[in-house]
């Protein structure tokens, strides 16, 4: 099973990286989602899959009776899933905003760090407003 999961997570990484290398923001976004899933799967598998009982302590006992699943990677992945989600949401908004102000989702055309000159005055006034 571990070997099968190794192949699946390797394929997810390969697919994610390939999408990251495309120059389209939407595909980059897909790549990020896939990569964060792949990393979680890697951590989970590395923790060992021998024991399939959930890491719970039965009522009446103070320690788990039989061997249970490894709780440590699970705790790590839970954190990772939530943080990954938070960052993805931020990415969504960021990409959406950059499309709005630059009018493209092609990263090759997103080279300008500042808007064209006619817009420059707008940003200055915006900054002044923000400052005041």
């Amino acid at each position: 099973m571990e070997t099968a999961l190794a192949i699946v997570s390797g394929s997810m990484v390969a697919g994610g990286i390939y999408l990251l290398l495309s120059q389209n923001l939407v595909r980059i976004l897909f790549g990020l989602i896939m990569l964060s899933n792949a990393v979680n799967l890697v951590i989970f598998t590395a923790g060992g899959l021998t024991h399939t009982k959930p890491a719970l302590i039965e009522v009446g006992r103070s320690v788990p009776g039989t061997a249970v699943a490894n709780a440590l990677p699970q705790a790590l992945i839970l954190t990772a899933i939530v943080i990954g989600f938070a960052l993805l949401v931020f990415m969504f908004v960021l990409f959406y905003r950059s499309y709005e102000s630059l009018g493209t989702i092609d990263t090759r055309q997103m080279t300008k760090s500042a808007p064209e000159k006619p817009h420059a005055t707008d940003t200055t006034t915006a900054r002044q407003e923000a400052g005041s």
Binding site: L29, F30, M34, F44, L56, N70, R108
Partner: protein, 755 residues
């Protein structure tokens, strides 16, 4: 008159004026220590600073340090008063005094340090503040370039100095200067002696403007004149001399030390003297005579006899006095007439009597006239030169020629402008305010006064300073008159030659200018070339590496990771191909195939909706795997987050243009992407293959299993880890979520306000 813009009434002057108290108090404090030091040798104070690195804040005040402290603070005080009047009305005058006094304190720290690392820290601080001082007129490109040049040259030497210091620490096991004297033998015999010497000398030579690193000093004259008077007479450039004297008992006395110092010093002295003769800008003339003086001091520190070392220290004092005075005089001329060109100034002595008196005294000391301290300095210099161990002939010749040229320069600089014919510029000149002539007059008078009481000067100042780095039973007394001997004869020759040079100065200057323009290669050109080449390389590599292409960045980063980690993995040979672990149930196998198909769809499809479906398959598949292998909490979270992610993705993607319209990349780029992607996938698979053959270390898990109920009273171990044992991590996680939500909100709101 660029240096002094119109008076600005809004400038507040008292901070600058008040800062003169700092050097004054330090000077008084140091002066009170003179009898103590003369009697007992040294005062010490220390506390731990970085004990793990064997660095102590360890200060020692001995004769040598004391002489330097007195020179630094005494001249620092007069220069502060001078600068307050000289820069009056400058809008950044208070900033100037911050730089000046910080520099002064760094210098004092430098000469007091008894720990080489501490010394290096102060050394670098002087470099830093001198950079700020030289570049004080920051509107001028010349000032900026000169400041950068001084910083690069002295800073570069400083780095080598650090290497030398670390090597000394490596050889001897200590950084304390006072302890190092016991390790002299070991240092001299060590194979690393020569590298250490080269590094230390590189530091000292760059700082003290020795040939071939001398070029930054004249350029540093872009600084306001008070800075030149302070940095280039008494302090900055003397730091290298101080270091040489300090290291003399530790590193000195070898053939390599003596040969290098005497030859480099002699060449520097002659070069400085010759160029000084050829210049017509008064400040530039003084700058080159400073180079000459530094060369002389280096040359004498190359010796190991008592007269040679006494000569170095005496001349140090002589030079600090007359040079600071002359710099201030030149600044005063510039201030009152608006020019520093020799030809344009003449006969202003009657209009500026105090300045003229100061100039006269300083110049007579510089020329080495009897009754002045300069004369005594010159006598002992010849005595020292004749006793040098290596090249006494070269040393004597260099000293003789330099002194003769210096006498001629002194006459040119100090006599001509004041007592020659009156030039048009001179007619409008008036005496400067008292604060401007006070400093040079005082220092000049000290030069004369000290010359009259040489035994007093040698007893309280020179002798303790020399004995601090040169243990000898010999008598160190300066006298006004040693009797008829070789030094006196040489003095007479010097005076005669000086007079000849002065009378022939027009011809001499023309010849020298012709000679200097004929020199094809100067160190300054080498420096300029080096700077240009560095900038060109930097530009080229930035253009290559930072070209703004996301594709290139990712390819390089991921490719490097794949090659580096994959190479190490292959090298270790821990990958074993083959199935392991529990067998795969059929239904789970089907699920994995579905996930692989999902990956393929996401990668291949040009339809956004199909891609979202593919991602859904992958995410749900993950949730099922989590549920199957004993992680119900993770599985549920995964399912929830996956659903939310896809909803958000759908919302956002509908507002972005479809991928179908996106133009496909070329074949080579596609191939490269494929290669990098497959490589990274293979790396991850390979890593996991390697991992599955190692025993899972469950020590930490075992702790949590044991403690979960007994200590935290929770039956769900995963939850207990998150909310109890690692609750701080969870708090961090919540902060990340909140920060990302707030940032997203700000982005959306920002859009609204700007539209």
């Amino acid at each position: 008159m660029k240096e002094h813009p119109a008076h600005d009434p809004s400038t507040i002057y008292w901070p600058g004026r008040l800062s003169a108290l700092l050097p004054l108090l330090l000077f008084i404090g140091a002066a009170f220590q003179v009898p103590e030091i003369q009697k007992n040798g040294a005062l010490a104070m220390a506390f731990d600073w970085v004990p793990s690195l064997n660095v102590r804040f360890d200060v020692v005040l001995d004769g040598l340090s004391l002489l330097f402290v007195l020179i630094i603070t005494g001249i620092g005080f007069l220069v502060t008063i001078y600068a307050d009047a000289y820069l009056a009305g400058h809008r950044q005058i208070n900033r100037f005094f911050v730089y000046l006094q910080s520099f002064l304190l760094s210098m004092v720290g430098l000469v007091l340090s008894n720990n080489l690392i501490l010394l290096f820290v102060f050394w670098e601080l002087t470099t830093l503040f001198s950079f700020l001082l030289i570049g004080f007129q920051n509107e001028s490109a010349t000032a900026r370039d000169s400041a950068r040049q001084a910083l690069l040259v002295t800073g570069g030497g400083g780095l080598l100095l650090l290497v030398g210091i670390l090597l000394i620490g490596d050889v001897t096991g200590t950084y304390a200067i006072s302890e190092l004297q016991g390790h002299t033998e070991r240092l001299h015999r060590d194979a690393r002696y020569l590298p250490i010497l080269i590094c230390l000398l590189a530091g000292a030579f760059t700082k003290s403007a020795q040939f071939p690193f001398h070029f930054w000093l004249p350029n540093a004259m872009a600084a306001p004149t008070p800075v030149s008077a302070f940095l280039h007479s008494a302090t900055m450039v003397k730091a290298g001399i101080y270091l040489l004297a300090r290291l003399h008992p530790i590193m000195g006395g070898t053939t390599a030390w003596m040969t290098t110092l005497v030859v480099v010093g002699a060449v520097t002295a002659l070069w400085g003297a010759v160029v000084a003769m050829a210049k017509t800008d008064l400040k530039s003339v003084l700058a080159h005579t400073t180079i000459m003086a530094l060369g002389i001091m280096t040359m004498f520190l190359g010796g190991r006899t008592t007269p040679a070392l006494t000569a170095a220290i005496t001349f140090l004092l002589v030079h600090a006095l007359y040079k600071s005075s002359l710099f201030m005089v030149v600044g005063s001329i510039d201030h009152q007439t608006g020019t520093r060109e020799l030809a344009e100034i003449g006969g202003i002595g009657r209009r500026m009597p105090f300045t003229a008196a100061a100039a006269l005294m300083a110049a007579l000391s510089m020329a080495g006239f009897p009754l002045f301290l300069g004369f005594i300095g010159k006598e002992i210099m010849y005595k020292g030169a004749l006793t040098e161990d290596v090249f006494p002939g070269l040393a004597t010749t260099a000293a003789l020629l330099s002194n003769a040229l210096m006498a001629a320069v002194a006459a040119t600089v100090a006599l001509r402008p004041f007592w020659g014919r009156e030039t048009p510029k001179a007619l409008t000149a008036r005496e400067a305010p008292w604060a401007i002539w006070f400093g040079p007059l005082v220092v000049g008078a000290i030069g004369l006064g000290f010359g009259l009481i040489p035994d007093w000067v040698s007893r309280w100042l020179v002798e303790p300073a020399v004995r601090a780095f040169h243990a000898t039973g010999e008598d160190i007394t300066l006298k006004l008159f040693y009797g008829f001997n070789y030094p006196l004869l040489l003095s007479v020759i010097t005076m005669t030659l000086g007079a000849v040079f002065y009378l022939a100065r027009q011809w001499l200057r023309r010849t020298l200018v012709r000679f200097l323009t004929a020199v094809p290669m100067t160190m300054e050109k080498v420096y300029d070339g080096g700077v240009k080449a560095t900038l060109a390389i930097a530009k080229w590599q930035t253009r290559r590496l930072q070209n703004g292409s996301l594709f290139q960045y990712l390819t390089v980063i991921i490719g490097t990771t794949v090659i580096g980690v994959g190479g190490a993995l292959l090298h270790a040979g821990t990958i074993r191909v083959g199935w392991s672990g529990p067998p795969v149930p059929v239904w789970l196998g089907l699920l994995l195939v579905c996930m692989l198909v999902g990956i393929g769809i996401v990668v291949r499809t040009r339809s956004r909706l199909l891609a979202i479906c593919g991602l859904g398959v992958i995410g749900t598949g993950m949730a099922v795997i989590f549920l199957t292998y004993g992680a119900p909490d993770v599985g549920l979270t995964q399912l929830l987050v996956e659903t939310l992610t896809l909803i958000f993705a759908a919302i956002v993607l509908l507002r972005l243009p479809p991928i179908e319209r996106h133009h496909r990349p070329g074949f080579s780029r596609m191939a490269l992407s494929l290669l990098v992607a497959v490589g990274s996938g293979a790396l991850v698979t390979g890593l996991m293959m390697a991992v599955q053959h190692t025993e899972v270390d469950r020590t930490i898990t075992a702790f949590y299993e044991q403690a979960s109920y007994l200590k935290a009273h929770g039956r769900n171990i995963v939850n207990v880890i998150l909310v109890d044992f690692r609750s701080l991590d969870t708090l961090g996680e919540i902060i990340v979520v909140a920060a990302s939500a707030l940032s997203a909100l700000a982005l959306i709101r920002g859009k609204r306000s700007s539209s």
